[in-house]
Symmetry: C2
Amino acid sequence: MNDQRRQSGLDLDLGDQCSAIAYGWAKRTFPTRLGRMGLPVLQVDGSFCNLMDFGELRVAMCSDGVGTKVEVAERTRRYDTLGHDLVAMVVDDLAANGVEPVNVSNILDVDVLDADIVDQLMRGLHEAARVAGVAVVGGEIAELGSRVRGWGDGMHFNWCATAIGVLPRGINPIDGTRVAPGDLVVALRSRGFRSNGFSLARRVLEADLGPDWHDRAWDGEVTWGQVMLTPSRIYSPGVQALIASGCALHGIAHVTGGGIPGNLERVLEPNGLGARLDRLFPPHDFMTDLIRRGGVEPRDAYRMFNMGTGMLLVVAADDAERCVALLRERRYEAQVAGVVTPGSGITVIEPLGGREPCVFDGGR
Amino acid sequence: MNDQRRQSGLDLDLGDQCSAIAYGWAKRTFPTRLGRMGLPVLQVDGSFCNLMDFGELRVAMCSDGVGTKVEVAERTRRYDTLGHDLVAMVVDDLAANGVEPVNVSNILDVDVLDADIVDQLMRGLHEAARVAGVAVVGGEIAELGSRVRGWGDGMHFNWCATAIGVLPRGINPIDGTRVAPGDLVVALRSRGFRSNGFSLARRVLEADLGPDWHDRAWDGEVTWGQVMLTPSRIYSPGVQALIASGCALHGIAHVTGGGIPGNLERVLEPNGLGARLDRLFPPHDFMTDLIRRGGVEPRDAYRMFNMGTGMLLVVAADDAERCVALLRERRYEAQVAGVVTPGSGITVIEPLGGREPCVFDGGR
């Protein structure tokens, strides 16, 4: 496990430590808003977004970026899809708390500017924002010269955004506190890699296919570069539709870094519960292929990649089929994938079959 | 002028073009919020923050970063002051619209993590947030490996943030539309370089003092590295105090990239007015020294650096002295620096004396 983590080029333990440091200092700023608008309401450590009291409303705010998926865009010279990844990262973190995403602001760090690439990026962002139903209300393009580097010639960049969303007074956030044994887990299919796991994925592809892995064919039709660039599906509109329909949504896990176990644990932890997932979607063929090329063990792959499932919804058992039907009406691929169990620990029965189940016993 | 701009390593015209592209695409996402919360209210091109309708409230959102000032922290190995620059950049852009800053979310892009540096950065951010009266409610630390580069060994990073603020219904944003000839311009002194102009400043210092310019003495007491790292003063609490006191604030220019002319023009443009500034604070001695070493012409220096003034307030003439007194009570250095004139164009009478006045005739 740890070897696998190190192999990805990221030190996840140091990452957790640094996040804890940042959160510790941030928490000490919460009292600045006592008795005023903007007082943080959630004081739960480790949530990806906080919720602030604005009188009749609560406002949530969340920041993220597309990480090193940018390199795939640089390699394929296609820049109009990353906006979907960027919007997905931030609005789906809000949606995972039951919050309606409303506005997005983005920051594009570049070494040198290329107006055509900026145009493609921003067009993609605009398309994704329309899908998500959010307005892009601000942004910053920062020319940082040699502080930003990337693959090949031309403009290199790093891209991140912050989204805000609202939750009217009287409506509860979805934070896992209502999850109970017997609740069903509904899986939403991903399109491919979202915006995490790229450091490991690129390393595997480079080791197996060489420095120009992006131009190598995955099958007769598409290259590895095209496959890896597959834009993220944005789930927030589906989640908003479920909330509007009164669906008994008890918890939502947005499957990003940490994978299914890392993100579902966050939802099950408040009540000390577990889950048995035996009908997950299978990983995409190119994902399985990449995992095989890298010799990545399934239990590690489930932590590093989304494995075909981009979001998990925990729903009261008697409401699950209605949720699935509603999602399918909106053209999301959705299916009941498992059940919440008493006691902690997540068991994944591999959809590929033929191997031992993966058991994740807490301790992210 | 353009030579000077190019000398800074930034192409300001291409920068403007790319900002216009980004804004053009963003604007096409505004209708996604028609009839719902989060509809952008300001449709004025070129504002640094928008204002969104949230029913009883309007919420503003603004993003920025500390740019290449980071290199000075890397050179001096002092990391606990940049938080002041980061908070200043985002909350003072909100304050410049008459909006009360409320919450901040930050994104730290790193190559490799160093928990001690993260701790210093976040401690500084926390201190600055307490000064500004805002809660740090979220953040993201992204490990981007070789996509982030910097000076010397160890962790390198780029750092940006998004702030949100509120404006209750019935209170007007401060957008320059009430500015009239005869209004006075009140200057707020800066502490030094804020977070803009560092590409040019570093180039000048490296050319004049060599690659280790940060260790060279500026005077007997401090090094150039220390002087250049001087943290930004945060003006927002002063602006909030003026608004609370009912001060007749008609326009506010936060002096960042573009300097006094670029940012004051934005405030004077709505009514086609100009200004004559004959009592500005003098630039800091180290700023003057740097400008002399670089052979930068004063009219260029006023576009690239803050020249001693970090914010300009446009105030009704009969309220200006009261504003200045209120600001001084809160230990801001403030003075009346000039007057709004009919017709466009900004004339700066150089506080150092002995030269021709700098006339900026619109056309940023």
